[in-house]
């Protein structure tokens, strides 16, 4: 099955070029040029991944991101022209899994897409962390009988942490394992997504017990 990717960008040339790149890599691109249309296109095409420009006519990329995330865990990669501004943090906080700074090259883009679409290794194991059950094969997290809905990225993050309970992961290790970065990348990615994950799995996100912070080093699951 060819993964479908929704490209939301108002620049027609860029959209078309991204489409060419995606097709050459074996993906099936769909396009939307407008923030207002993007949600409809999302419903219509049911993509496996969304490439989302931040600056859009109609409602902006951040808002689109928020709306998509409200109903689905589909991976979202933001396309941004400004890698160091509040845009990035706003996008991540509203559910984007990753971002690519323009101008990017085809390999960079494809590598990011591939990481997010990578099929999770089905070791058919069930992990336990705190009072949570992480069903790796079923891609599901449960507290008792209640299923906690996580995005694939949040699931990957929790799984990475749970697979080695009590081991401290630095942000760089998590960036490599979860996001597929092999060089220094933006540690805000980790910080923001750990916050989002905690908001879903912790009883008291302000006083986390499952994913704890090790000051000056990183994070670990399972508590001390």
């Amino acid at each position: 099955m060819t993964p479908r990717i929704l490209v939301v960008d108002d620049d027609q040339a860029l959209s078309e070029m991204i489409g060419i790149v995606l097709r050459s890599e074996g993906y099936e691109p769909e396009f939307s040029a407008d923030g207002n249309d993007a949600i409809d296109a999302f419903h219509g095409t049911k993509p496996d991944l969304v490439l989302l420009d931040v600056m859009l006519p109609g409602i902006d990329g951040i808002e689109v991101c928020k709306r998509i995330r409200a109903e689905s865990g589909t991976p979202i990669i933001m396309l941004t022209a400004r890698g160091d501004t509040a845009d990035v943090v706003a996008g991540l906080e509203n559910g984007a899994d990753d971002y690519v700074v323009k101008p990017f090259n085809p390999k960079e883009l494809v590598a990011r897409i591939r990481t997010r679409l990578r099929p999770t290794a089905s070791d058919a194991t069930v992990l336990h962390v705190g009072d949570l059950t992480v069903d790796v094969a079923g891609h599901e997290v449960r507290r008792g009988d209640a299923v906690i809905a996580l995005t694939p990225l949040e699931f990957d993050l929790l799984r990475a942490l749970s697979e080695k309970p009590n081991q401290v992961f630095t942000r760089e290790m998590l960036l490599e394992q979860v996001w597929g970065y092999h060089y220094k990348a933006d540690t805000r990615l980790v910080n923001v997504h750990v916050q989002r994950l905690r908001a879903k799995i912790e009883h008291d996100p302000d006083n986390p017990k499952i994913v704890t912070t090790v000051r000056g080093v990183g994070y670990r699951a399972g508590g001390a």
């Binding site: 620049d11 040339a13 860029l14 070029m17 991204i18 600056m55 323009k102 085809p106 390999k107």
Partner: protein, 558 residues
């Protein structure tokens, strides 16, 4: 003897008291000097009081002299006429008696006391008069009259000089100011001497001594009144001056306070304007100025904001088409072997130049962020020596290609510091890259050292170097030492300018030493604590015109 130590003790106490006194005097003097320098009010009042004090003293003295002269002259005239009258009356009594019959001794004495009475009744001077009738020396007469004097006659005041003067018998009165001793107090007086011719007894001298203490009292009173008046006037003037100066100084202080606030960024501060006087005019023009300045600043801030916005928009607008070009170029580049050789080469050139364009755009945006002061440090714990090691390892392949021996010496910088690692890495990449590019095949040394206040990283090449006029310009934007020089790494011309911006952001700096043919050394110096600027460096560099043998650590290694 017990007095010895006690005296020594009291002496030392005295010394201590003296020292303390001197200390306080000095402190007081310093306080006055400070007030004099700092307080317009104090200075104005002091100057006014001093000058008016001087004027009052001069006028007062003049008035006192004039009044006392006047009072004295008046009394003197009065005394003179009284004495003359008394002499005439006394002489009359003696003459009248003589006209009658020859005189015997007792009669003369009666006459004498009669005359005395007459003189006393003729002198009305307040304060009392003393009388003495004395026989002139060297008189030969049949009879003598006893020298008489009123009670408590001050004999001492009748000096030889006065007696001589009177003895001349000029028929005039002889006057002499004298000092009277009254109950131990000295009082001014006037002695008047004249001669009396007593029949059959010869020439006698009549002395009248007048007490002038009443006049002195008057004068004392006047001078006291003048002094009190003078002091009161000075106090009044001091008060009036301070009030007047206050009228001026208080608004000035207000203006100073307001300008301080404006300087501190509170651009809306204004001086309250009251009335229509000069101060109000000052306040109005000050406010006008503040208004203009704040308008300018607001305008500039707005311009800067627009500029920042513009840069940000340009960034977005440029980056989107550049992304398309990049993607297209890479697609072409990846299939360049499928094209004809010339088209394939074009794809290669396109690919390389798009990359260069991208770097240039990124550097330009970074510089514009520095200009807009829109950059922020993102500090994290960093070990400088470890960071330098990473960078050196990163550049080893490039150095090998350039056939350059890349050496790393780290005598210091092994403790953790709070640094923005991304920026420090960027600086080092830039410096090491430049050193390899300009190293002329000779060894390039990277030295990390530290002292109490700073951590310094030196990058030294022994290549072509630069003349001093070039060395001072290396941090200028788009400046190239030698435009014709072949570029192997291909910088944007903004690298060192950005590096300097990064260093400054840390409160650090980059120094350079260079000499043609001897190579260049760049030293990045970062403060250990806080972001206060550094003034010294753990790796000091000499002036451009001096010779340099490399960092100490390297020399010692050799």
């Amino acid at each position: 003897m017990p007095a010895g130590p006690s005296r020594a003790g009291s002496l030392s106490t005295l010394g201590r008291v003296g020292r303390r006194l001197r200390h306080w005097v000095r402190r007081g003097w310093r306080a006055v000097a400070y007030l004099w320098r700092r307080s317009l009010m104090f200075r104005s009042v002091a100057i006014t009081v001093m000058t008016t004090g001087l004027a009052i003293a001069i006028i007062g003295t003049a008035v006192m002299i004039s009044i006392s002269n006047n009072v004295y002259a008046q009394r003197r005239d009065q005394i003179e006429s009284e004495s003359a009258r008394a002499t005439i009356v006394a002489q009359g009594i003696f003459d009248a008696a003589t006209a009658g019959e020859d005189n015997n001794q007792s009669e003369l004495e009666t006459l004498q006391s009669e005359a005395q009475q007459a003189i006393l009744s003729n002198t009305t001077s307040p304060g009392g008069t003393s009388i003495a009738i004395e026989r002139s020396p060297d008189q030969a007469g049949p009879q003598t009259v006893q020298n008489v004097a009123s009670q408590h006659f001050p004999d001492a005041v009748i000096t030889e000089a006065l007696r001589k003067e009177v003895g001349k018998n000029t028929g005039k009165l002889s006057l002499q100011p004298v000092q009277l001793d009254e109950d131990g107090r000295r009082q001014p007086g006037l002695a008047v001497g004249s001669t009396l011719q007593i029949p059959s007894a010869g020439q006698y001298e009549l002395y009248l001594v007048y007490d002038l203490s009443d006049a002195q009292q008057t004068l004392d009173f006047v001078s006291q009144t003048l002094s009190i008046g003078g002091v009161a006037l000075m106090v009044l003037i001091a008060l009036v001056t301070s009030l007047v100066v206050r009228l001026v100084v208080v608004p000035i202080r207000g203006a100073a306070e307001t300008s301080r606030k404006i300087a501190a960024g509170r651009l809306d501060e204004r001086i309250p304007v009251r009335g229509n006087d000069d101060i109000a005019t000052l306040a109005r023009s000050f406010n006008g100025m503040a208004e203009a300045v704040s308008r300018q600043i607001t305008q500039l801030a707005e311009l800067s904001r627009v500029q920042q916005r513009f840069v940000s928009d340009v960034s977005h607008e440029l980056r989107t088409p550049l992304t398309t070009i990049r993607l297209a170029g890479d697609m072409l580049y990846d299939s360049r072997h499928a094209f004809e050789p010339s088209v394939g080469r074009s794809a290669e050139l396109l690919h390389a130049q798009v990359e260069r364009f991208e770097l240039l755009l990124a550097d330009l945006l970074e510089i514009s962020r520095f200009d807009a002061q829109a950059v922020q440090l993102d500090p994290e714990p960093v070990i400088p020596a470890a960071l330098a090691t990473d960078i050196v390892d990163e550049f080893r392949p490039l150095a090998e290609r350039a056939d350059i021996d890349l050496q790393l010496v780290t005598p210091g910088g092994h403790t953790t510091m709070q640094l923005d690692a991304k920026r420090v890495r960027r600086i080092l990449r830039n410096l090491v890259g430049n050193a390899i590019e300009h190293g002329d095949g000779k060894p390039v040394q990277v030295v990390v050292d530290s002292d109490a206040r700073t951590v310094a990283i030196a990058v030294r090449d022994q290549g072509i170097g630069m003349p001093p006029e070039d060395a001072v310009r290396v941090f200028d934007r788009f400046w190239r030492a030698d435009p014709s020089r072949k570029r192997t790494i291909g910088g944007t011309g903004l690298g060192l300018a950005i590096s300097l911006g990064d260093a400054n952001l840390h409160g650090g700096r980059i120094d350079v030493w260079s000499k043609p043919g001897e190579g260049s050394t760049f030293v990045l110096t970062l403060p250990r604590n806080d972001r206060v600027g550094v003034t010294t460096s753990a790796i000091p560099l000499p002036d451009l015109d001096e010779s340099y043998e490399g960092p100490r650590a390297v020399r010692e290694d050799d």
